[in-house]
């Protein structure tokens, strides 16, 4: 496939000063099923102080490409073409020289900060390790430098943090530590592999601010690998789009995102849900589906009344995950439950399924109170509720063929005979737009999007009146997500079920919810119609959430970023940036909040943004 290079000649800096250059890179993996050509001739350069975003869906070879730069590919990989880091050709280096290059010339920021840090070593040990290995500083000198690095990435009280372990820090702070490790040896180029994918949107915005200031102030080149077009718009100077190992389009961020030339790029951008442009659902839609189902509109599908849920912990007071939450989901209505990680949204979903008991308050499903049901009645009630989980790979029994998985609810409730069950499964496969031949396929043979369709079909087997969907699309690629959401909407209008849709993605909620409930730390911050909450939010927290969600348009995103900084200033928060000129004594600057690091929270800092 020919690469469309949209970079105008003025933008091309002389090739010699690139800090990272791939030239006609091919990577092939030898597997037990034969060879897999993962990267097919990629040519790409990263210059100092420049962010190049490598974009593509899962399996496009973007991570493999970046891993070659560190020489970290597994043994069954064959590489041809050249990779140059600074003035070194990676393929020519011996293991000792490779080790010297890693850290010194090129560093990596990983996706999952919890697994990228060693849980049994202190932050200080891990930060000083690179310094000592590369002979930059030893002992107390290294510790001082480590404190300085933490100060630079905006972690308060750095000297105290050095003695702490990764689990004592929040997700955002951990990612800052990972970034501090990456810049500890002052590399010329940093590879950031989905650095914000595991983080909440407000934390993501902070980390992106930090990375941006890093390239401005240290003149480091950054190769940013991401699937999130909003992040690309926010960060990238240049964009390279990969499809199945080929580089299909490169150009400046503005060119690629606002005027894509390749058909795939256009499709990819078209699939990104755009916050503020969601078609949403009108009230007529609800009424129509209510009439169709002839359900009693007076009985809400789900009614939560002052719901309190606590998790019991050994030797500690119970942790209150959900505190005094009340809302209703009317028949045929989609209610979006939004919040960051640890806000209790999934807990509420599980409680609505009757998997977690409430401490106080009531959960009424279709007018029946969970707490007062006996086993038989509970089983009958469960016939009327469907569920779709986040990870389609985990939520379908790998030992069941697709047909059997979809028919399982029928078998459990002993509905129909073998022939009628098969007929029902065939109808459902049609409804979720999967070929009927999938009946005998196993889940591992299906792609993520197809598995999620199976999962949705299984949820609809018994024609539930209420569907609980827990982040059903967040594990999927954007183009797949768009197709699944579209199908979800048409199924909803066809089957007319009420739905509790749990998501962290405001754009997705904007696309399909009638009503929105915003949660923070187990409490409702704001609830109301989609338009009211997402267009004219009243609460600061909602405003902050909305401001932090990036949109896939570099110009609009720049305005949004400035708006967000203005909002943060108004709210009295600090804008995150790299502090390259630390004071001689790296002790805490006053006034910065120190979230989630100590006590009172069973899931460590995961409940708070960094």
């Amino acid at each position: 496939m020919p690469t469309l290079d949209l970079t105008s000649s003025a933008d091309i800096v002389a090739g010699g000063d690139a800090v990272l250059a791939f030239t006609d890179l091919h990577v092939t993996f030898g597997t037990e099923f034969g060879d897999v050509h993962a990267v097919k001739g990629v040519t790409l350069e990263v210059h100092p102080g420049e962010v190049v975003a490598l974009v593509g869906e899962s399996g496009s070879g973007k991570s493999v490409t970046s891993t070659t730069a560190l020489g970290l590919l597994p043994g069954n990989a064959r590489v041809s073409g050249s990779v140059r880091v600074g003035d070194k050709i990676v393929g020519d280096l011996d293991p000792a020289a490779l080790r010297k290059m890693r850290g010194n010339d090129i560093a990596m920021v990983f996706q999952e900060p919890m697994t990228a840090l060693n849980p049994v070593l202190t932050i200080g040990d891990q930060l000083t390790e690179a310094l000592q290995l590369h002979g930059l500083a030893y002992g107390s000198q290294a510790m001082a430098r480590a404190a300085e690095l933490l100060e630079m990435v905006g972690i308060p009280e750095p000297r105290r943090r050095l003695k702490q372990y990764p689990h004592e820090l929040s997700g955002g702070q951990r990612q800052r530590v990972v970034i501090a490790m990456a810049i500890s040896c002052d590399p010329r180029v940093i590879i950031a592999d989905e650095p914000t994918t595991a983080l909440d949107v407000t934390v993501q915005a902070d980390i992106l601010d930090l990375l941006r200031s890093l390239k401005d102030k240290l003149d480091t080149g950054i190769l940013l690998i991401t699937h999130n077009m909003g992040v690309v718009a926010d960060m990238a100077d240049r964009v390279a789009v990969m499809l199945k190992g080929d580089l299909v389009e490169t150009g400046t961020a503005e060119q690629v995102l606002t005027n894509p030339q390749h058909e795939y790029t256009r499709r990819l951008l078209g699939a990104v849900p755009h916050l503020g442009e969601g078609s949403g659902q009108s009230d007529e839609g609800v009424r129509a589906s209510v009439e169709k189902e002839k359900v009693d509109a007076a009985v809400p599908a789900l009614e939560l009344d002052n719901l309190v849920i606590e998790y019991h912990r050994l030797g500690k007071p119970p942790f209150r995950a959900v505190d005094d939450v009340s809302f209703t989901v009317g028949p045929g209505e989609i209610v979006g439950l939004v919040g960051e990680s640890g806000s209790g949204k999934s807990t509420i979903g599980k409680c609505a399924l009757g998997l977690i008991p409430a401490v106080s308050g009531a959960v009424r499903i279709l007018g029946e109170d969970y707490g007062r049901l006996r086993r038989k009645q509970l089983k009958d009630l469960r016939r009327r509720i469907g569920v779709v989980f986040q990870d389609p790979a985990a939520s379908i029994n790998p030992r069941f063929p697709v047909g059997e998985a979809i028919a399982e609810p029928l078998a459990v409730h002993q509905v129909g005979d073998a022939a009628s069950r098969k007929q029902r499964v065939m109808d459902l496969l049609d409804a979720v737009e999967l070929p009927r031949s999938f009946y005998n396929r196993y889940p591992h043979e299906l792609s993520g999007g197809q598995r999620q369709r199976v999962s949705i079909a299984r949820a609809l087997t018994l024609e539930p009146e209420l569907l609980v969907a827990d982040e059903p699309t967040s594990a999927l690629d954007v183009s797949v997500q768009a197709a699944v959401l579209e199908m979800f909407l048409s199924l909803q209008s066809e089957f007319g079920f009420a739905c509790l849709f749990v998501s962290h993605d405001l754009a997705v909620i904007d696309l399909l919810a009638h009503k929105v409930v915003v949660l923070q730390n187990g409490r409702i911050v704001e609830q109301g119609d989609r338009d009211t909450v997402l267009r004219t939010p009243r609460e600061d927290y909602t405003k902050r959430l909305l401001a932090a969600a990036p949109v896939p348009d570099p110009i609009e995103q720049k305005l949004r970023r400035e708006d967000r900084h203005r909002l943060l200033a108004e709210l009295g928060d600090e804008i995150v940036e790299l502090r390259v000129d630390p004071t001689s004594d790296p002790e805490p600057p006053a006034g910065r909040k120190t979230p989630g690091a100590e006590g009172g929270n069973p899931l460590g800092g995961a409940f708070h943004g960094g």
Partner: protein, 302 residues
């Protein structure tokens, strides 16, 4: 590389069973071991026959034959003869039969008990788990050989079947712990939660959803239990607590002729070699199965 894997699977799809079979048949050690074990089983049961069915070997293990020389292996008596002239090939084959029956019986019984105990403990948690796992701990802290010896003695009136049952009852503990661990992680998976949410009962979840996913662990542990059972039976019989005469087994043969080690070494070597062949080949098969079920431990050369 997950990227690489997804691409391959799209090209040609295999069911999970096919994948396991494919990987197993590429494990050369396991294939050789399977052939060896197959031959041993075949020869042991066809040569002297079972019960009333006669075999192709013209001598039987009870009759005394005229001694040829010192009784060392000859064409007439390939494994030699013992001190009173019995055909040692027939004797060893009889011993192998009994040892194999005991080993596979013990493997089956201990796997069944271990799986059920482990699955119930792991799935139900709470007091069920406490009770079952404390029972397991209790069995583990008593030295296995002592326990097996006492129970074996009690069961000796019922012949090798009694011994098989007793050994099965004391050797399931390791497997129960393995299965419990596996079930503990499986029960938290989304597909189990999804099954619970549609109203599936506990028994159905355990036997239809959870255990089929633990089958790899169970099969591997079962093969290793078989080879452990062979050795346990041998040591018990050698010590005189296992198979009692007039029944015989490989361990008992060694024990009976241990004084002949210097004068008639073949009486010691043949049963010893059979034990070695069976235990090693079962172990190799277990190894091959483990690699086949767990592709992460892949040792294939790139």
């Amino acid at each position: 590389m997950t990227d690489a894997e997804t691409v391959t699977i799209e090209e040609k799809s295999y069911s999970q069973g096919q994948l396991v079979r494919r990987r197993f048949f590429r494990h050369k050690g396991a294939i050789v071991a399977m052939i060896v074990l197959g031959l041993v089983v075949l020869v042991a049961f066809t040569s002297i026959g079972i019960g009333p069915i006669p075999g192709w070997w013209d001598k039987n293990p009870v009759s005394q034959y005229e001694k040829v020389g010192t009784g060392a292996p000859t064409w007439a008596h390939p494994f030699g003869q013992d001190s009173i002239g019995k055909d040692y090939f027939a004797l060893v084959m009889l011993g192998t039969q009994k040892s194999l029956i005991i080993a596979f019986g013990v493997g089956l019984i201990s796997t069944l008990i271990g799986t059920v105990v482990g699955a119930f403990a792991g799935y139900y948690r709470g007091w069920v788990e406490s009770a079952l796992m404390r029972l397991t701990d209790l069995l583990i802290v008593i030295p296995l050989l002592v326990l097996a010896a006492v129970l074996g003695k009690i069961a000796s009136p019922w012949g090798i079947w009694g011994l098989t049952l007793m050994l099965g009852i004391v050797t399931w503990t390791g497997l129960a712990r393995l299965v419990r661990g596996e079930v503990l992680s499986l029960r938290e998976r989304d597909f189990v939660v999804a099954a619970t949410a549609v109203g599936t009962g506990a028994q159905r979840i355990i036997f239809k959803h959870v255990l089929p996913n633990a089958v790899g662990t169970i099969i591997v542990a079962a093969t290793l239990a078989i080879s452990a059972a062979i050795l346990l039976e041998t040591s018990l019989s050698f010590l005189g607590f296992g198979v009692q005469p007039p029944d015989t087994s490989l361990g008992l043969l060694i024990s009976q002729y241990q004084t002949a080690f210097t004068t008639r070494p073949w009486l010691f070597w043949w049963p010893g070699l059979m034990i070695l062949a069976i235990a090693l080949s079962v172990n190799f098969i277990g190894d091959g199965l483990r690699d086949a079920f767990d592709p992460r431990q892949n040792r294939s050369k790139a």
